[in-house]
Symmetry: C2
Subunit: 84 residues, 2 copies
DNA sequence: AGCAAGCGTGCTAATAATACCGCTACCGGT
DNA sequence: ACCGGTAGCGGTATTATTAGCACGCTTGCT
């Protein structure tokens, strides 16, 4: 196995992450937040909709910065049910 | 351009991240930490040596958890010189 | 000598990030 | 009612990159 395909758990985790991000975005448009984070709107949308279960660290970091939320919180929420 | 190749800045950022991770690891062996974080030793090594500039978010999250360090701190340090 | 920890390289399958297409829903203006 | 603009969704195609494994090599320690 050269690279384990993403499991269902991974997908769920990504989905949770996306949900959090969406909540944090609130009223602001995807376009604006994406620009603020330095990525394309389409990528942001994919992340929010959970179509990108394991985004790059800096992508999330930039997003978190643009949304003024903590990386630790994000990680915590995602690790939450995984550890359970 | 479908996918922007990693710039030099990205590489440097990744290198800084790796350095931090290595420091956090301290005396513990790569093998042990990698196992604790749930990834292969090779991957950990690549991240520490900066050969993987933009690892997956959860990879770093797991690592940070295994090393007991904050994601926010990592992001901060990496964004540090980038914003400068 | 033997062992463990690291490093470096090459390789493969799977994925991330991007752009382009069309489609729907909502809104205000004419 | 019709038109145009904005915001989001879904799918597809493309390229660069990740994460994993394997082999060999070096170094330090016992």
């Amino acid at each position: 196995m050269v690279r384990p395909p993403l499991t269902e758990l991974d997908r769920e985790r990504g989905h949770r992450l996306g949900t959090l991000l969406r909540q944090a975005r609130g009223t602001r448009s995807m376009t604006e937040v994406a620009a603020a984070a330095g990525l394309s709107a389409e990528t942001l949308r994919k992340i929010e909709t959970g179509r990108i279960p394991t985004p790059a660290f800096f992508t999330i970091a930039a997003l978190a910065a643009a949304l003024n939320i903590s990386l630790d919180v994000l990680a915590e929420v995602c690790a939450d049910e995984r550890a359970a």
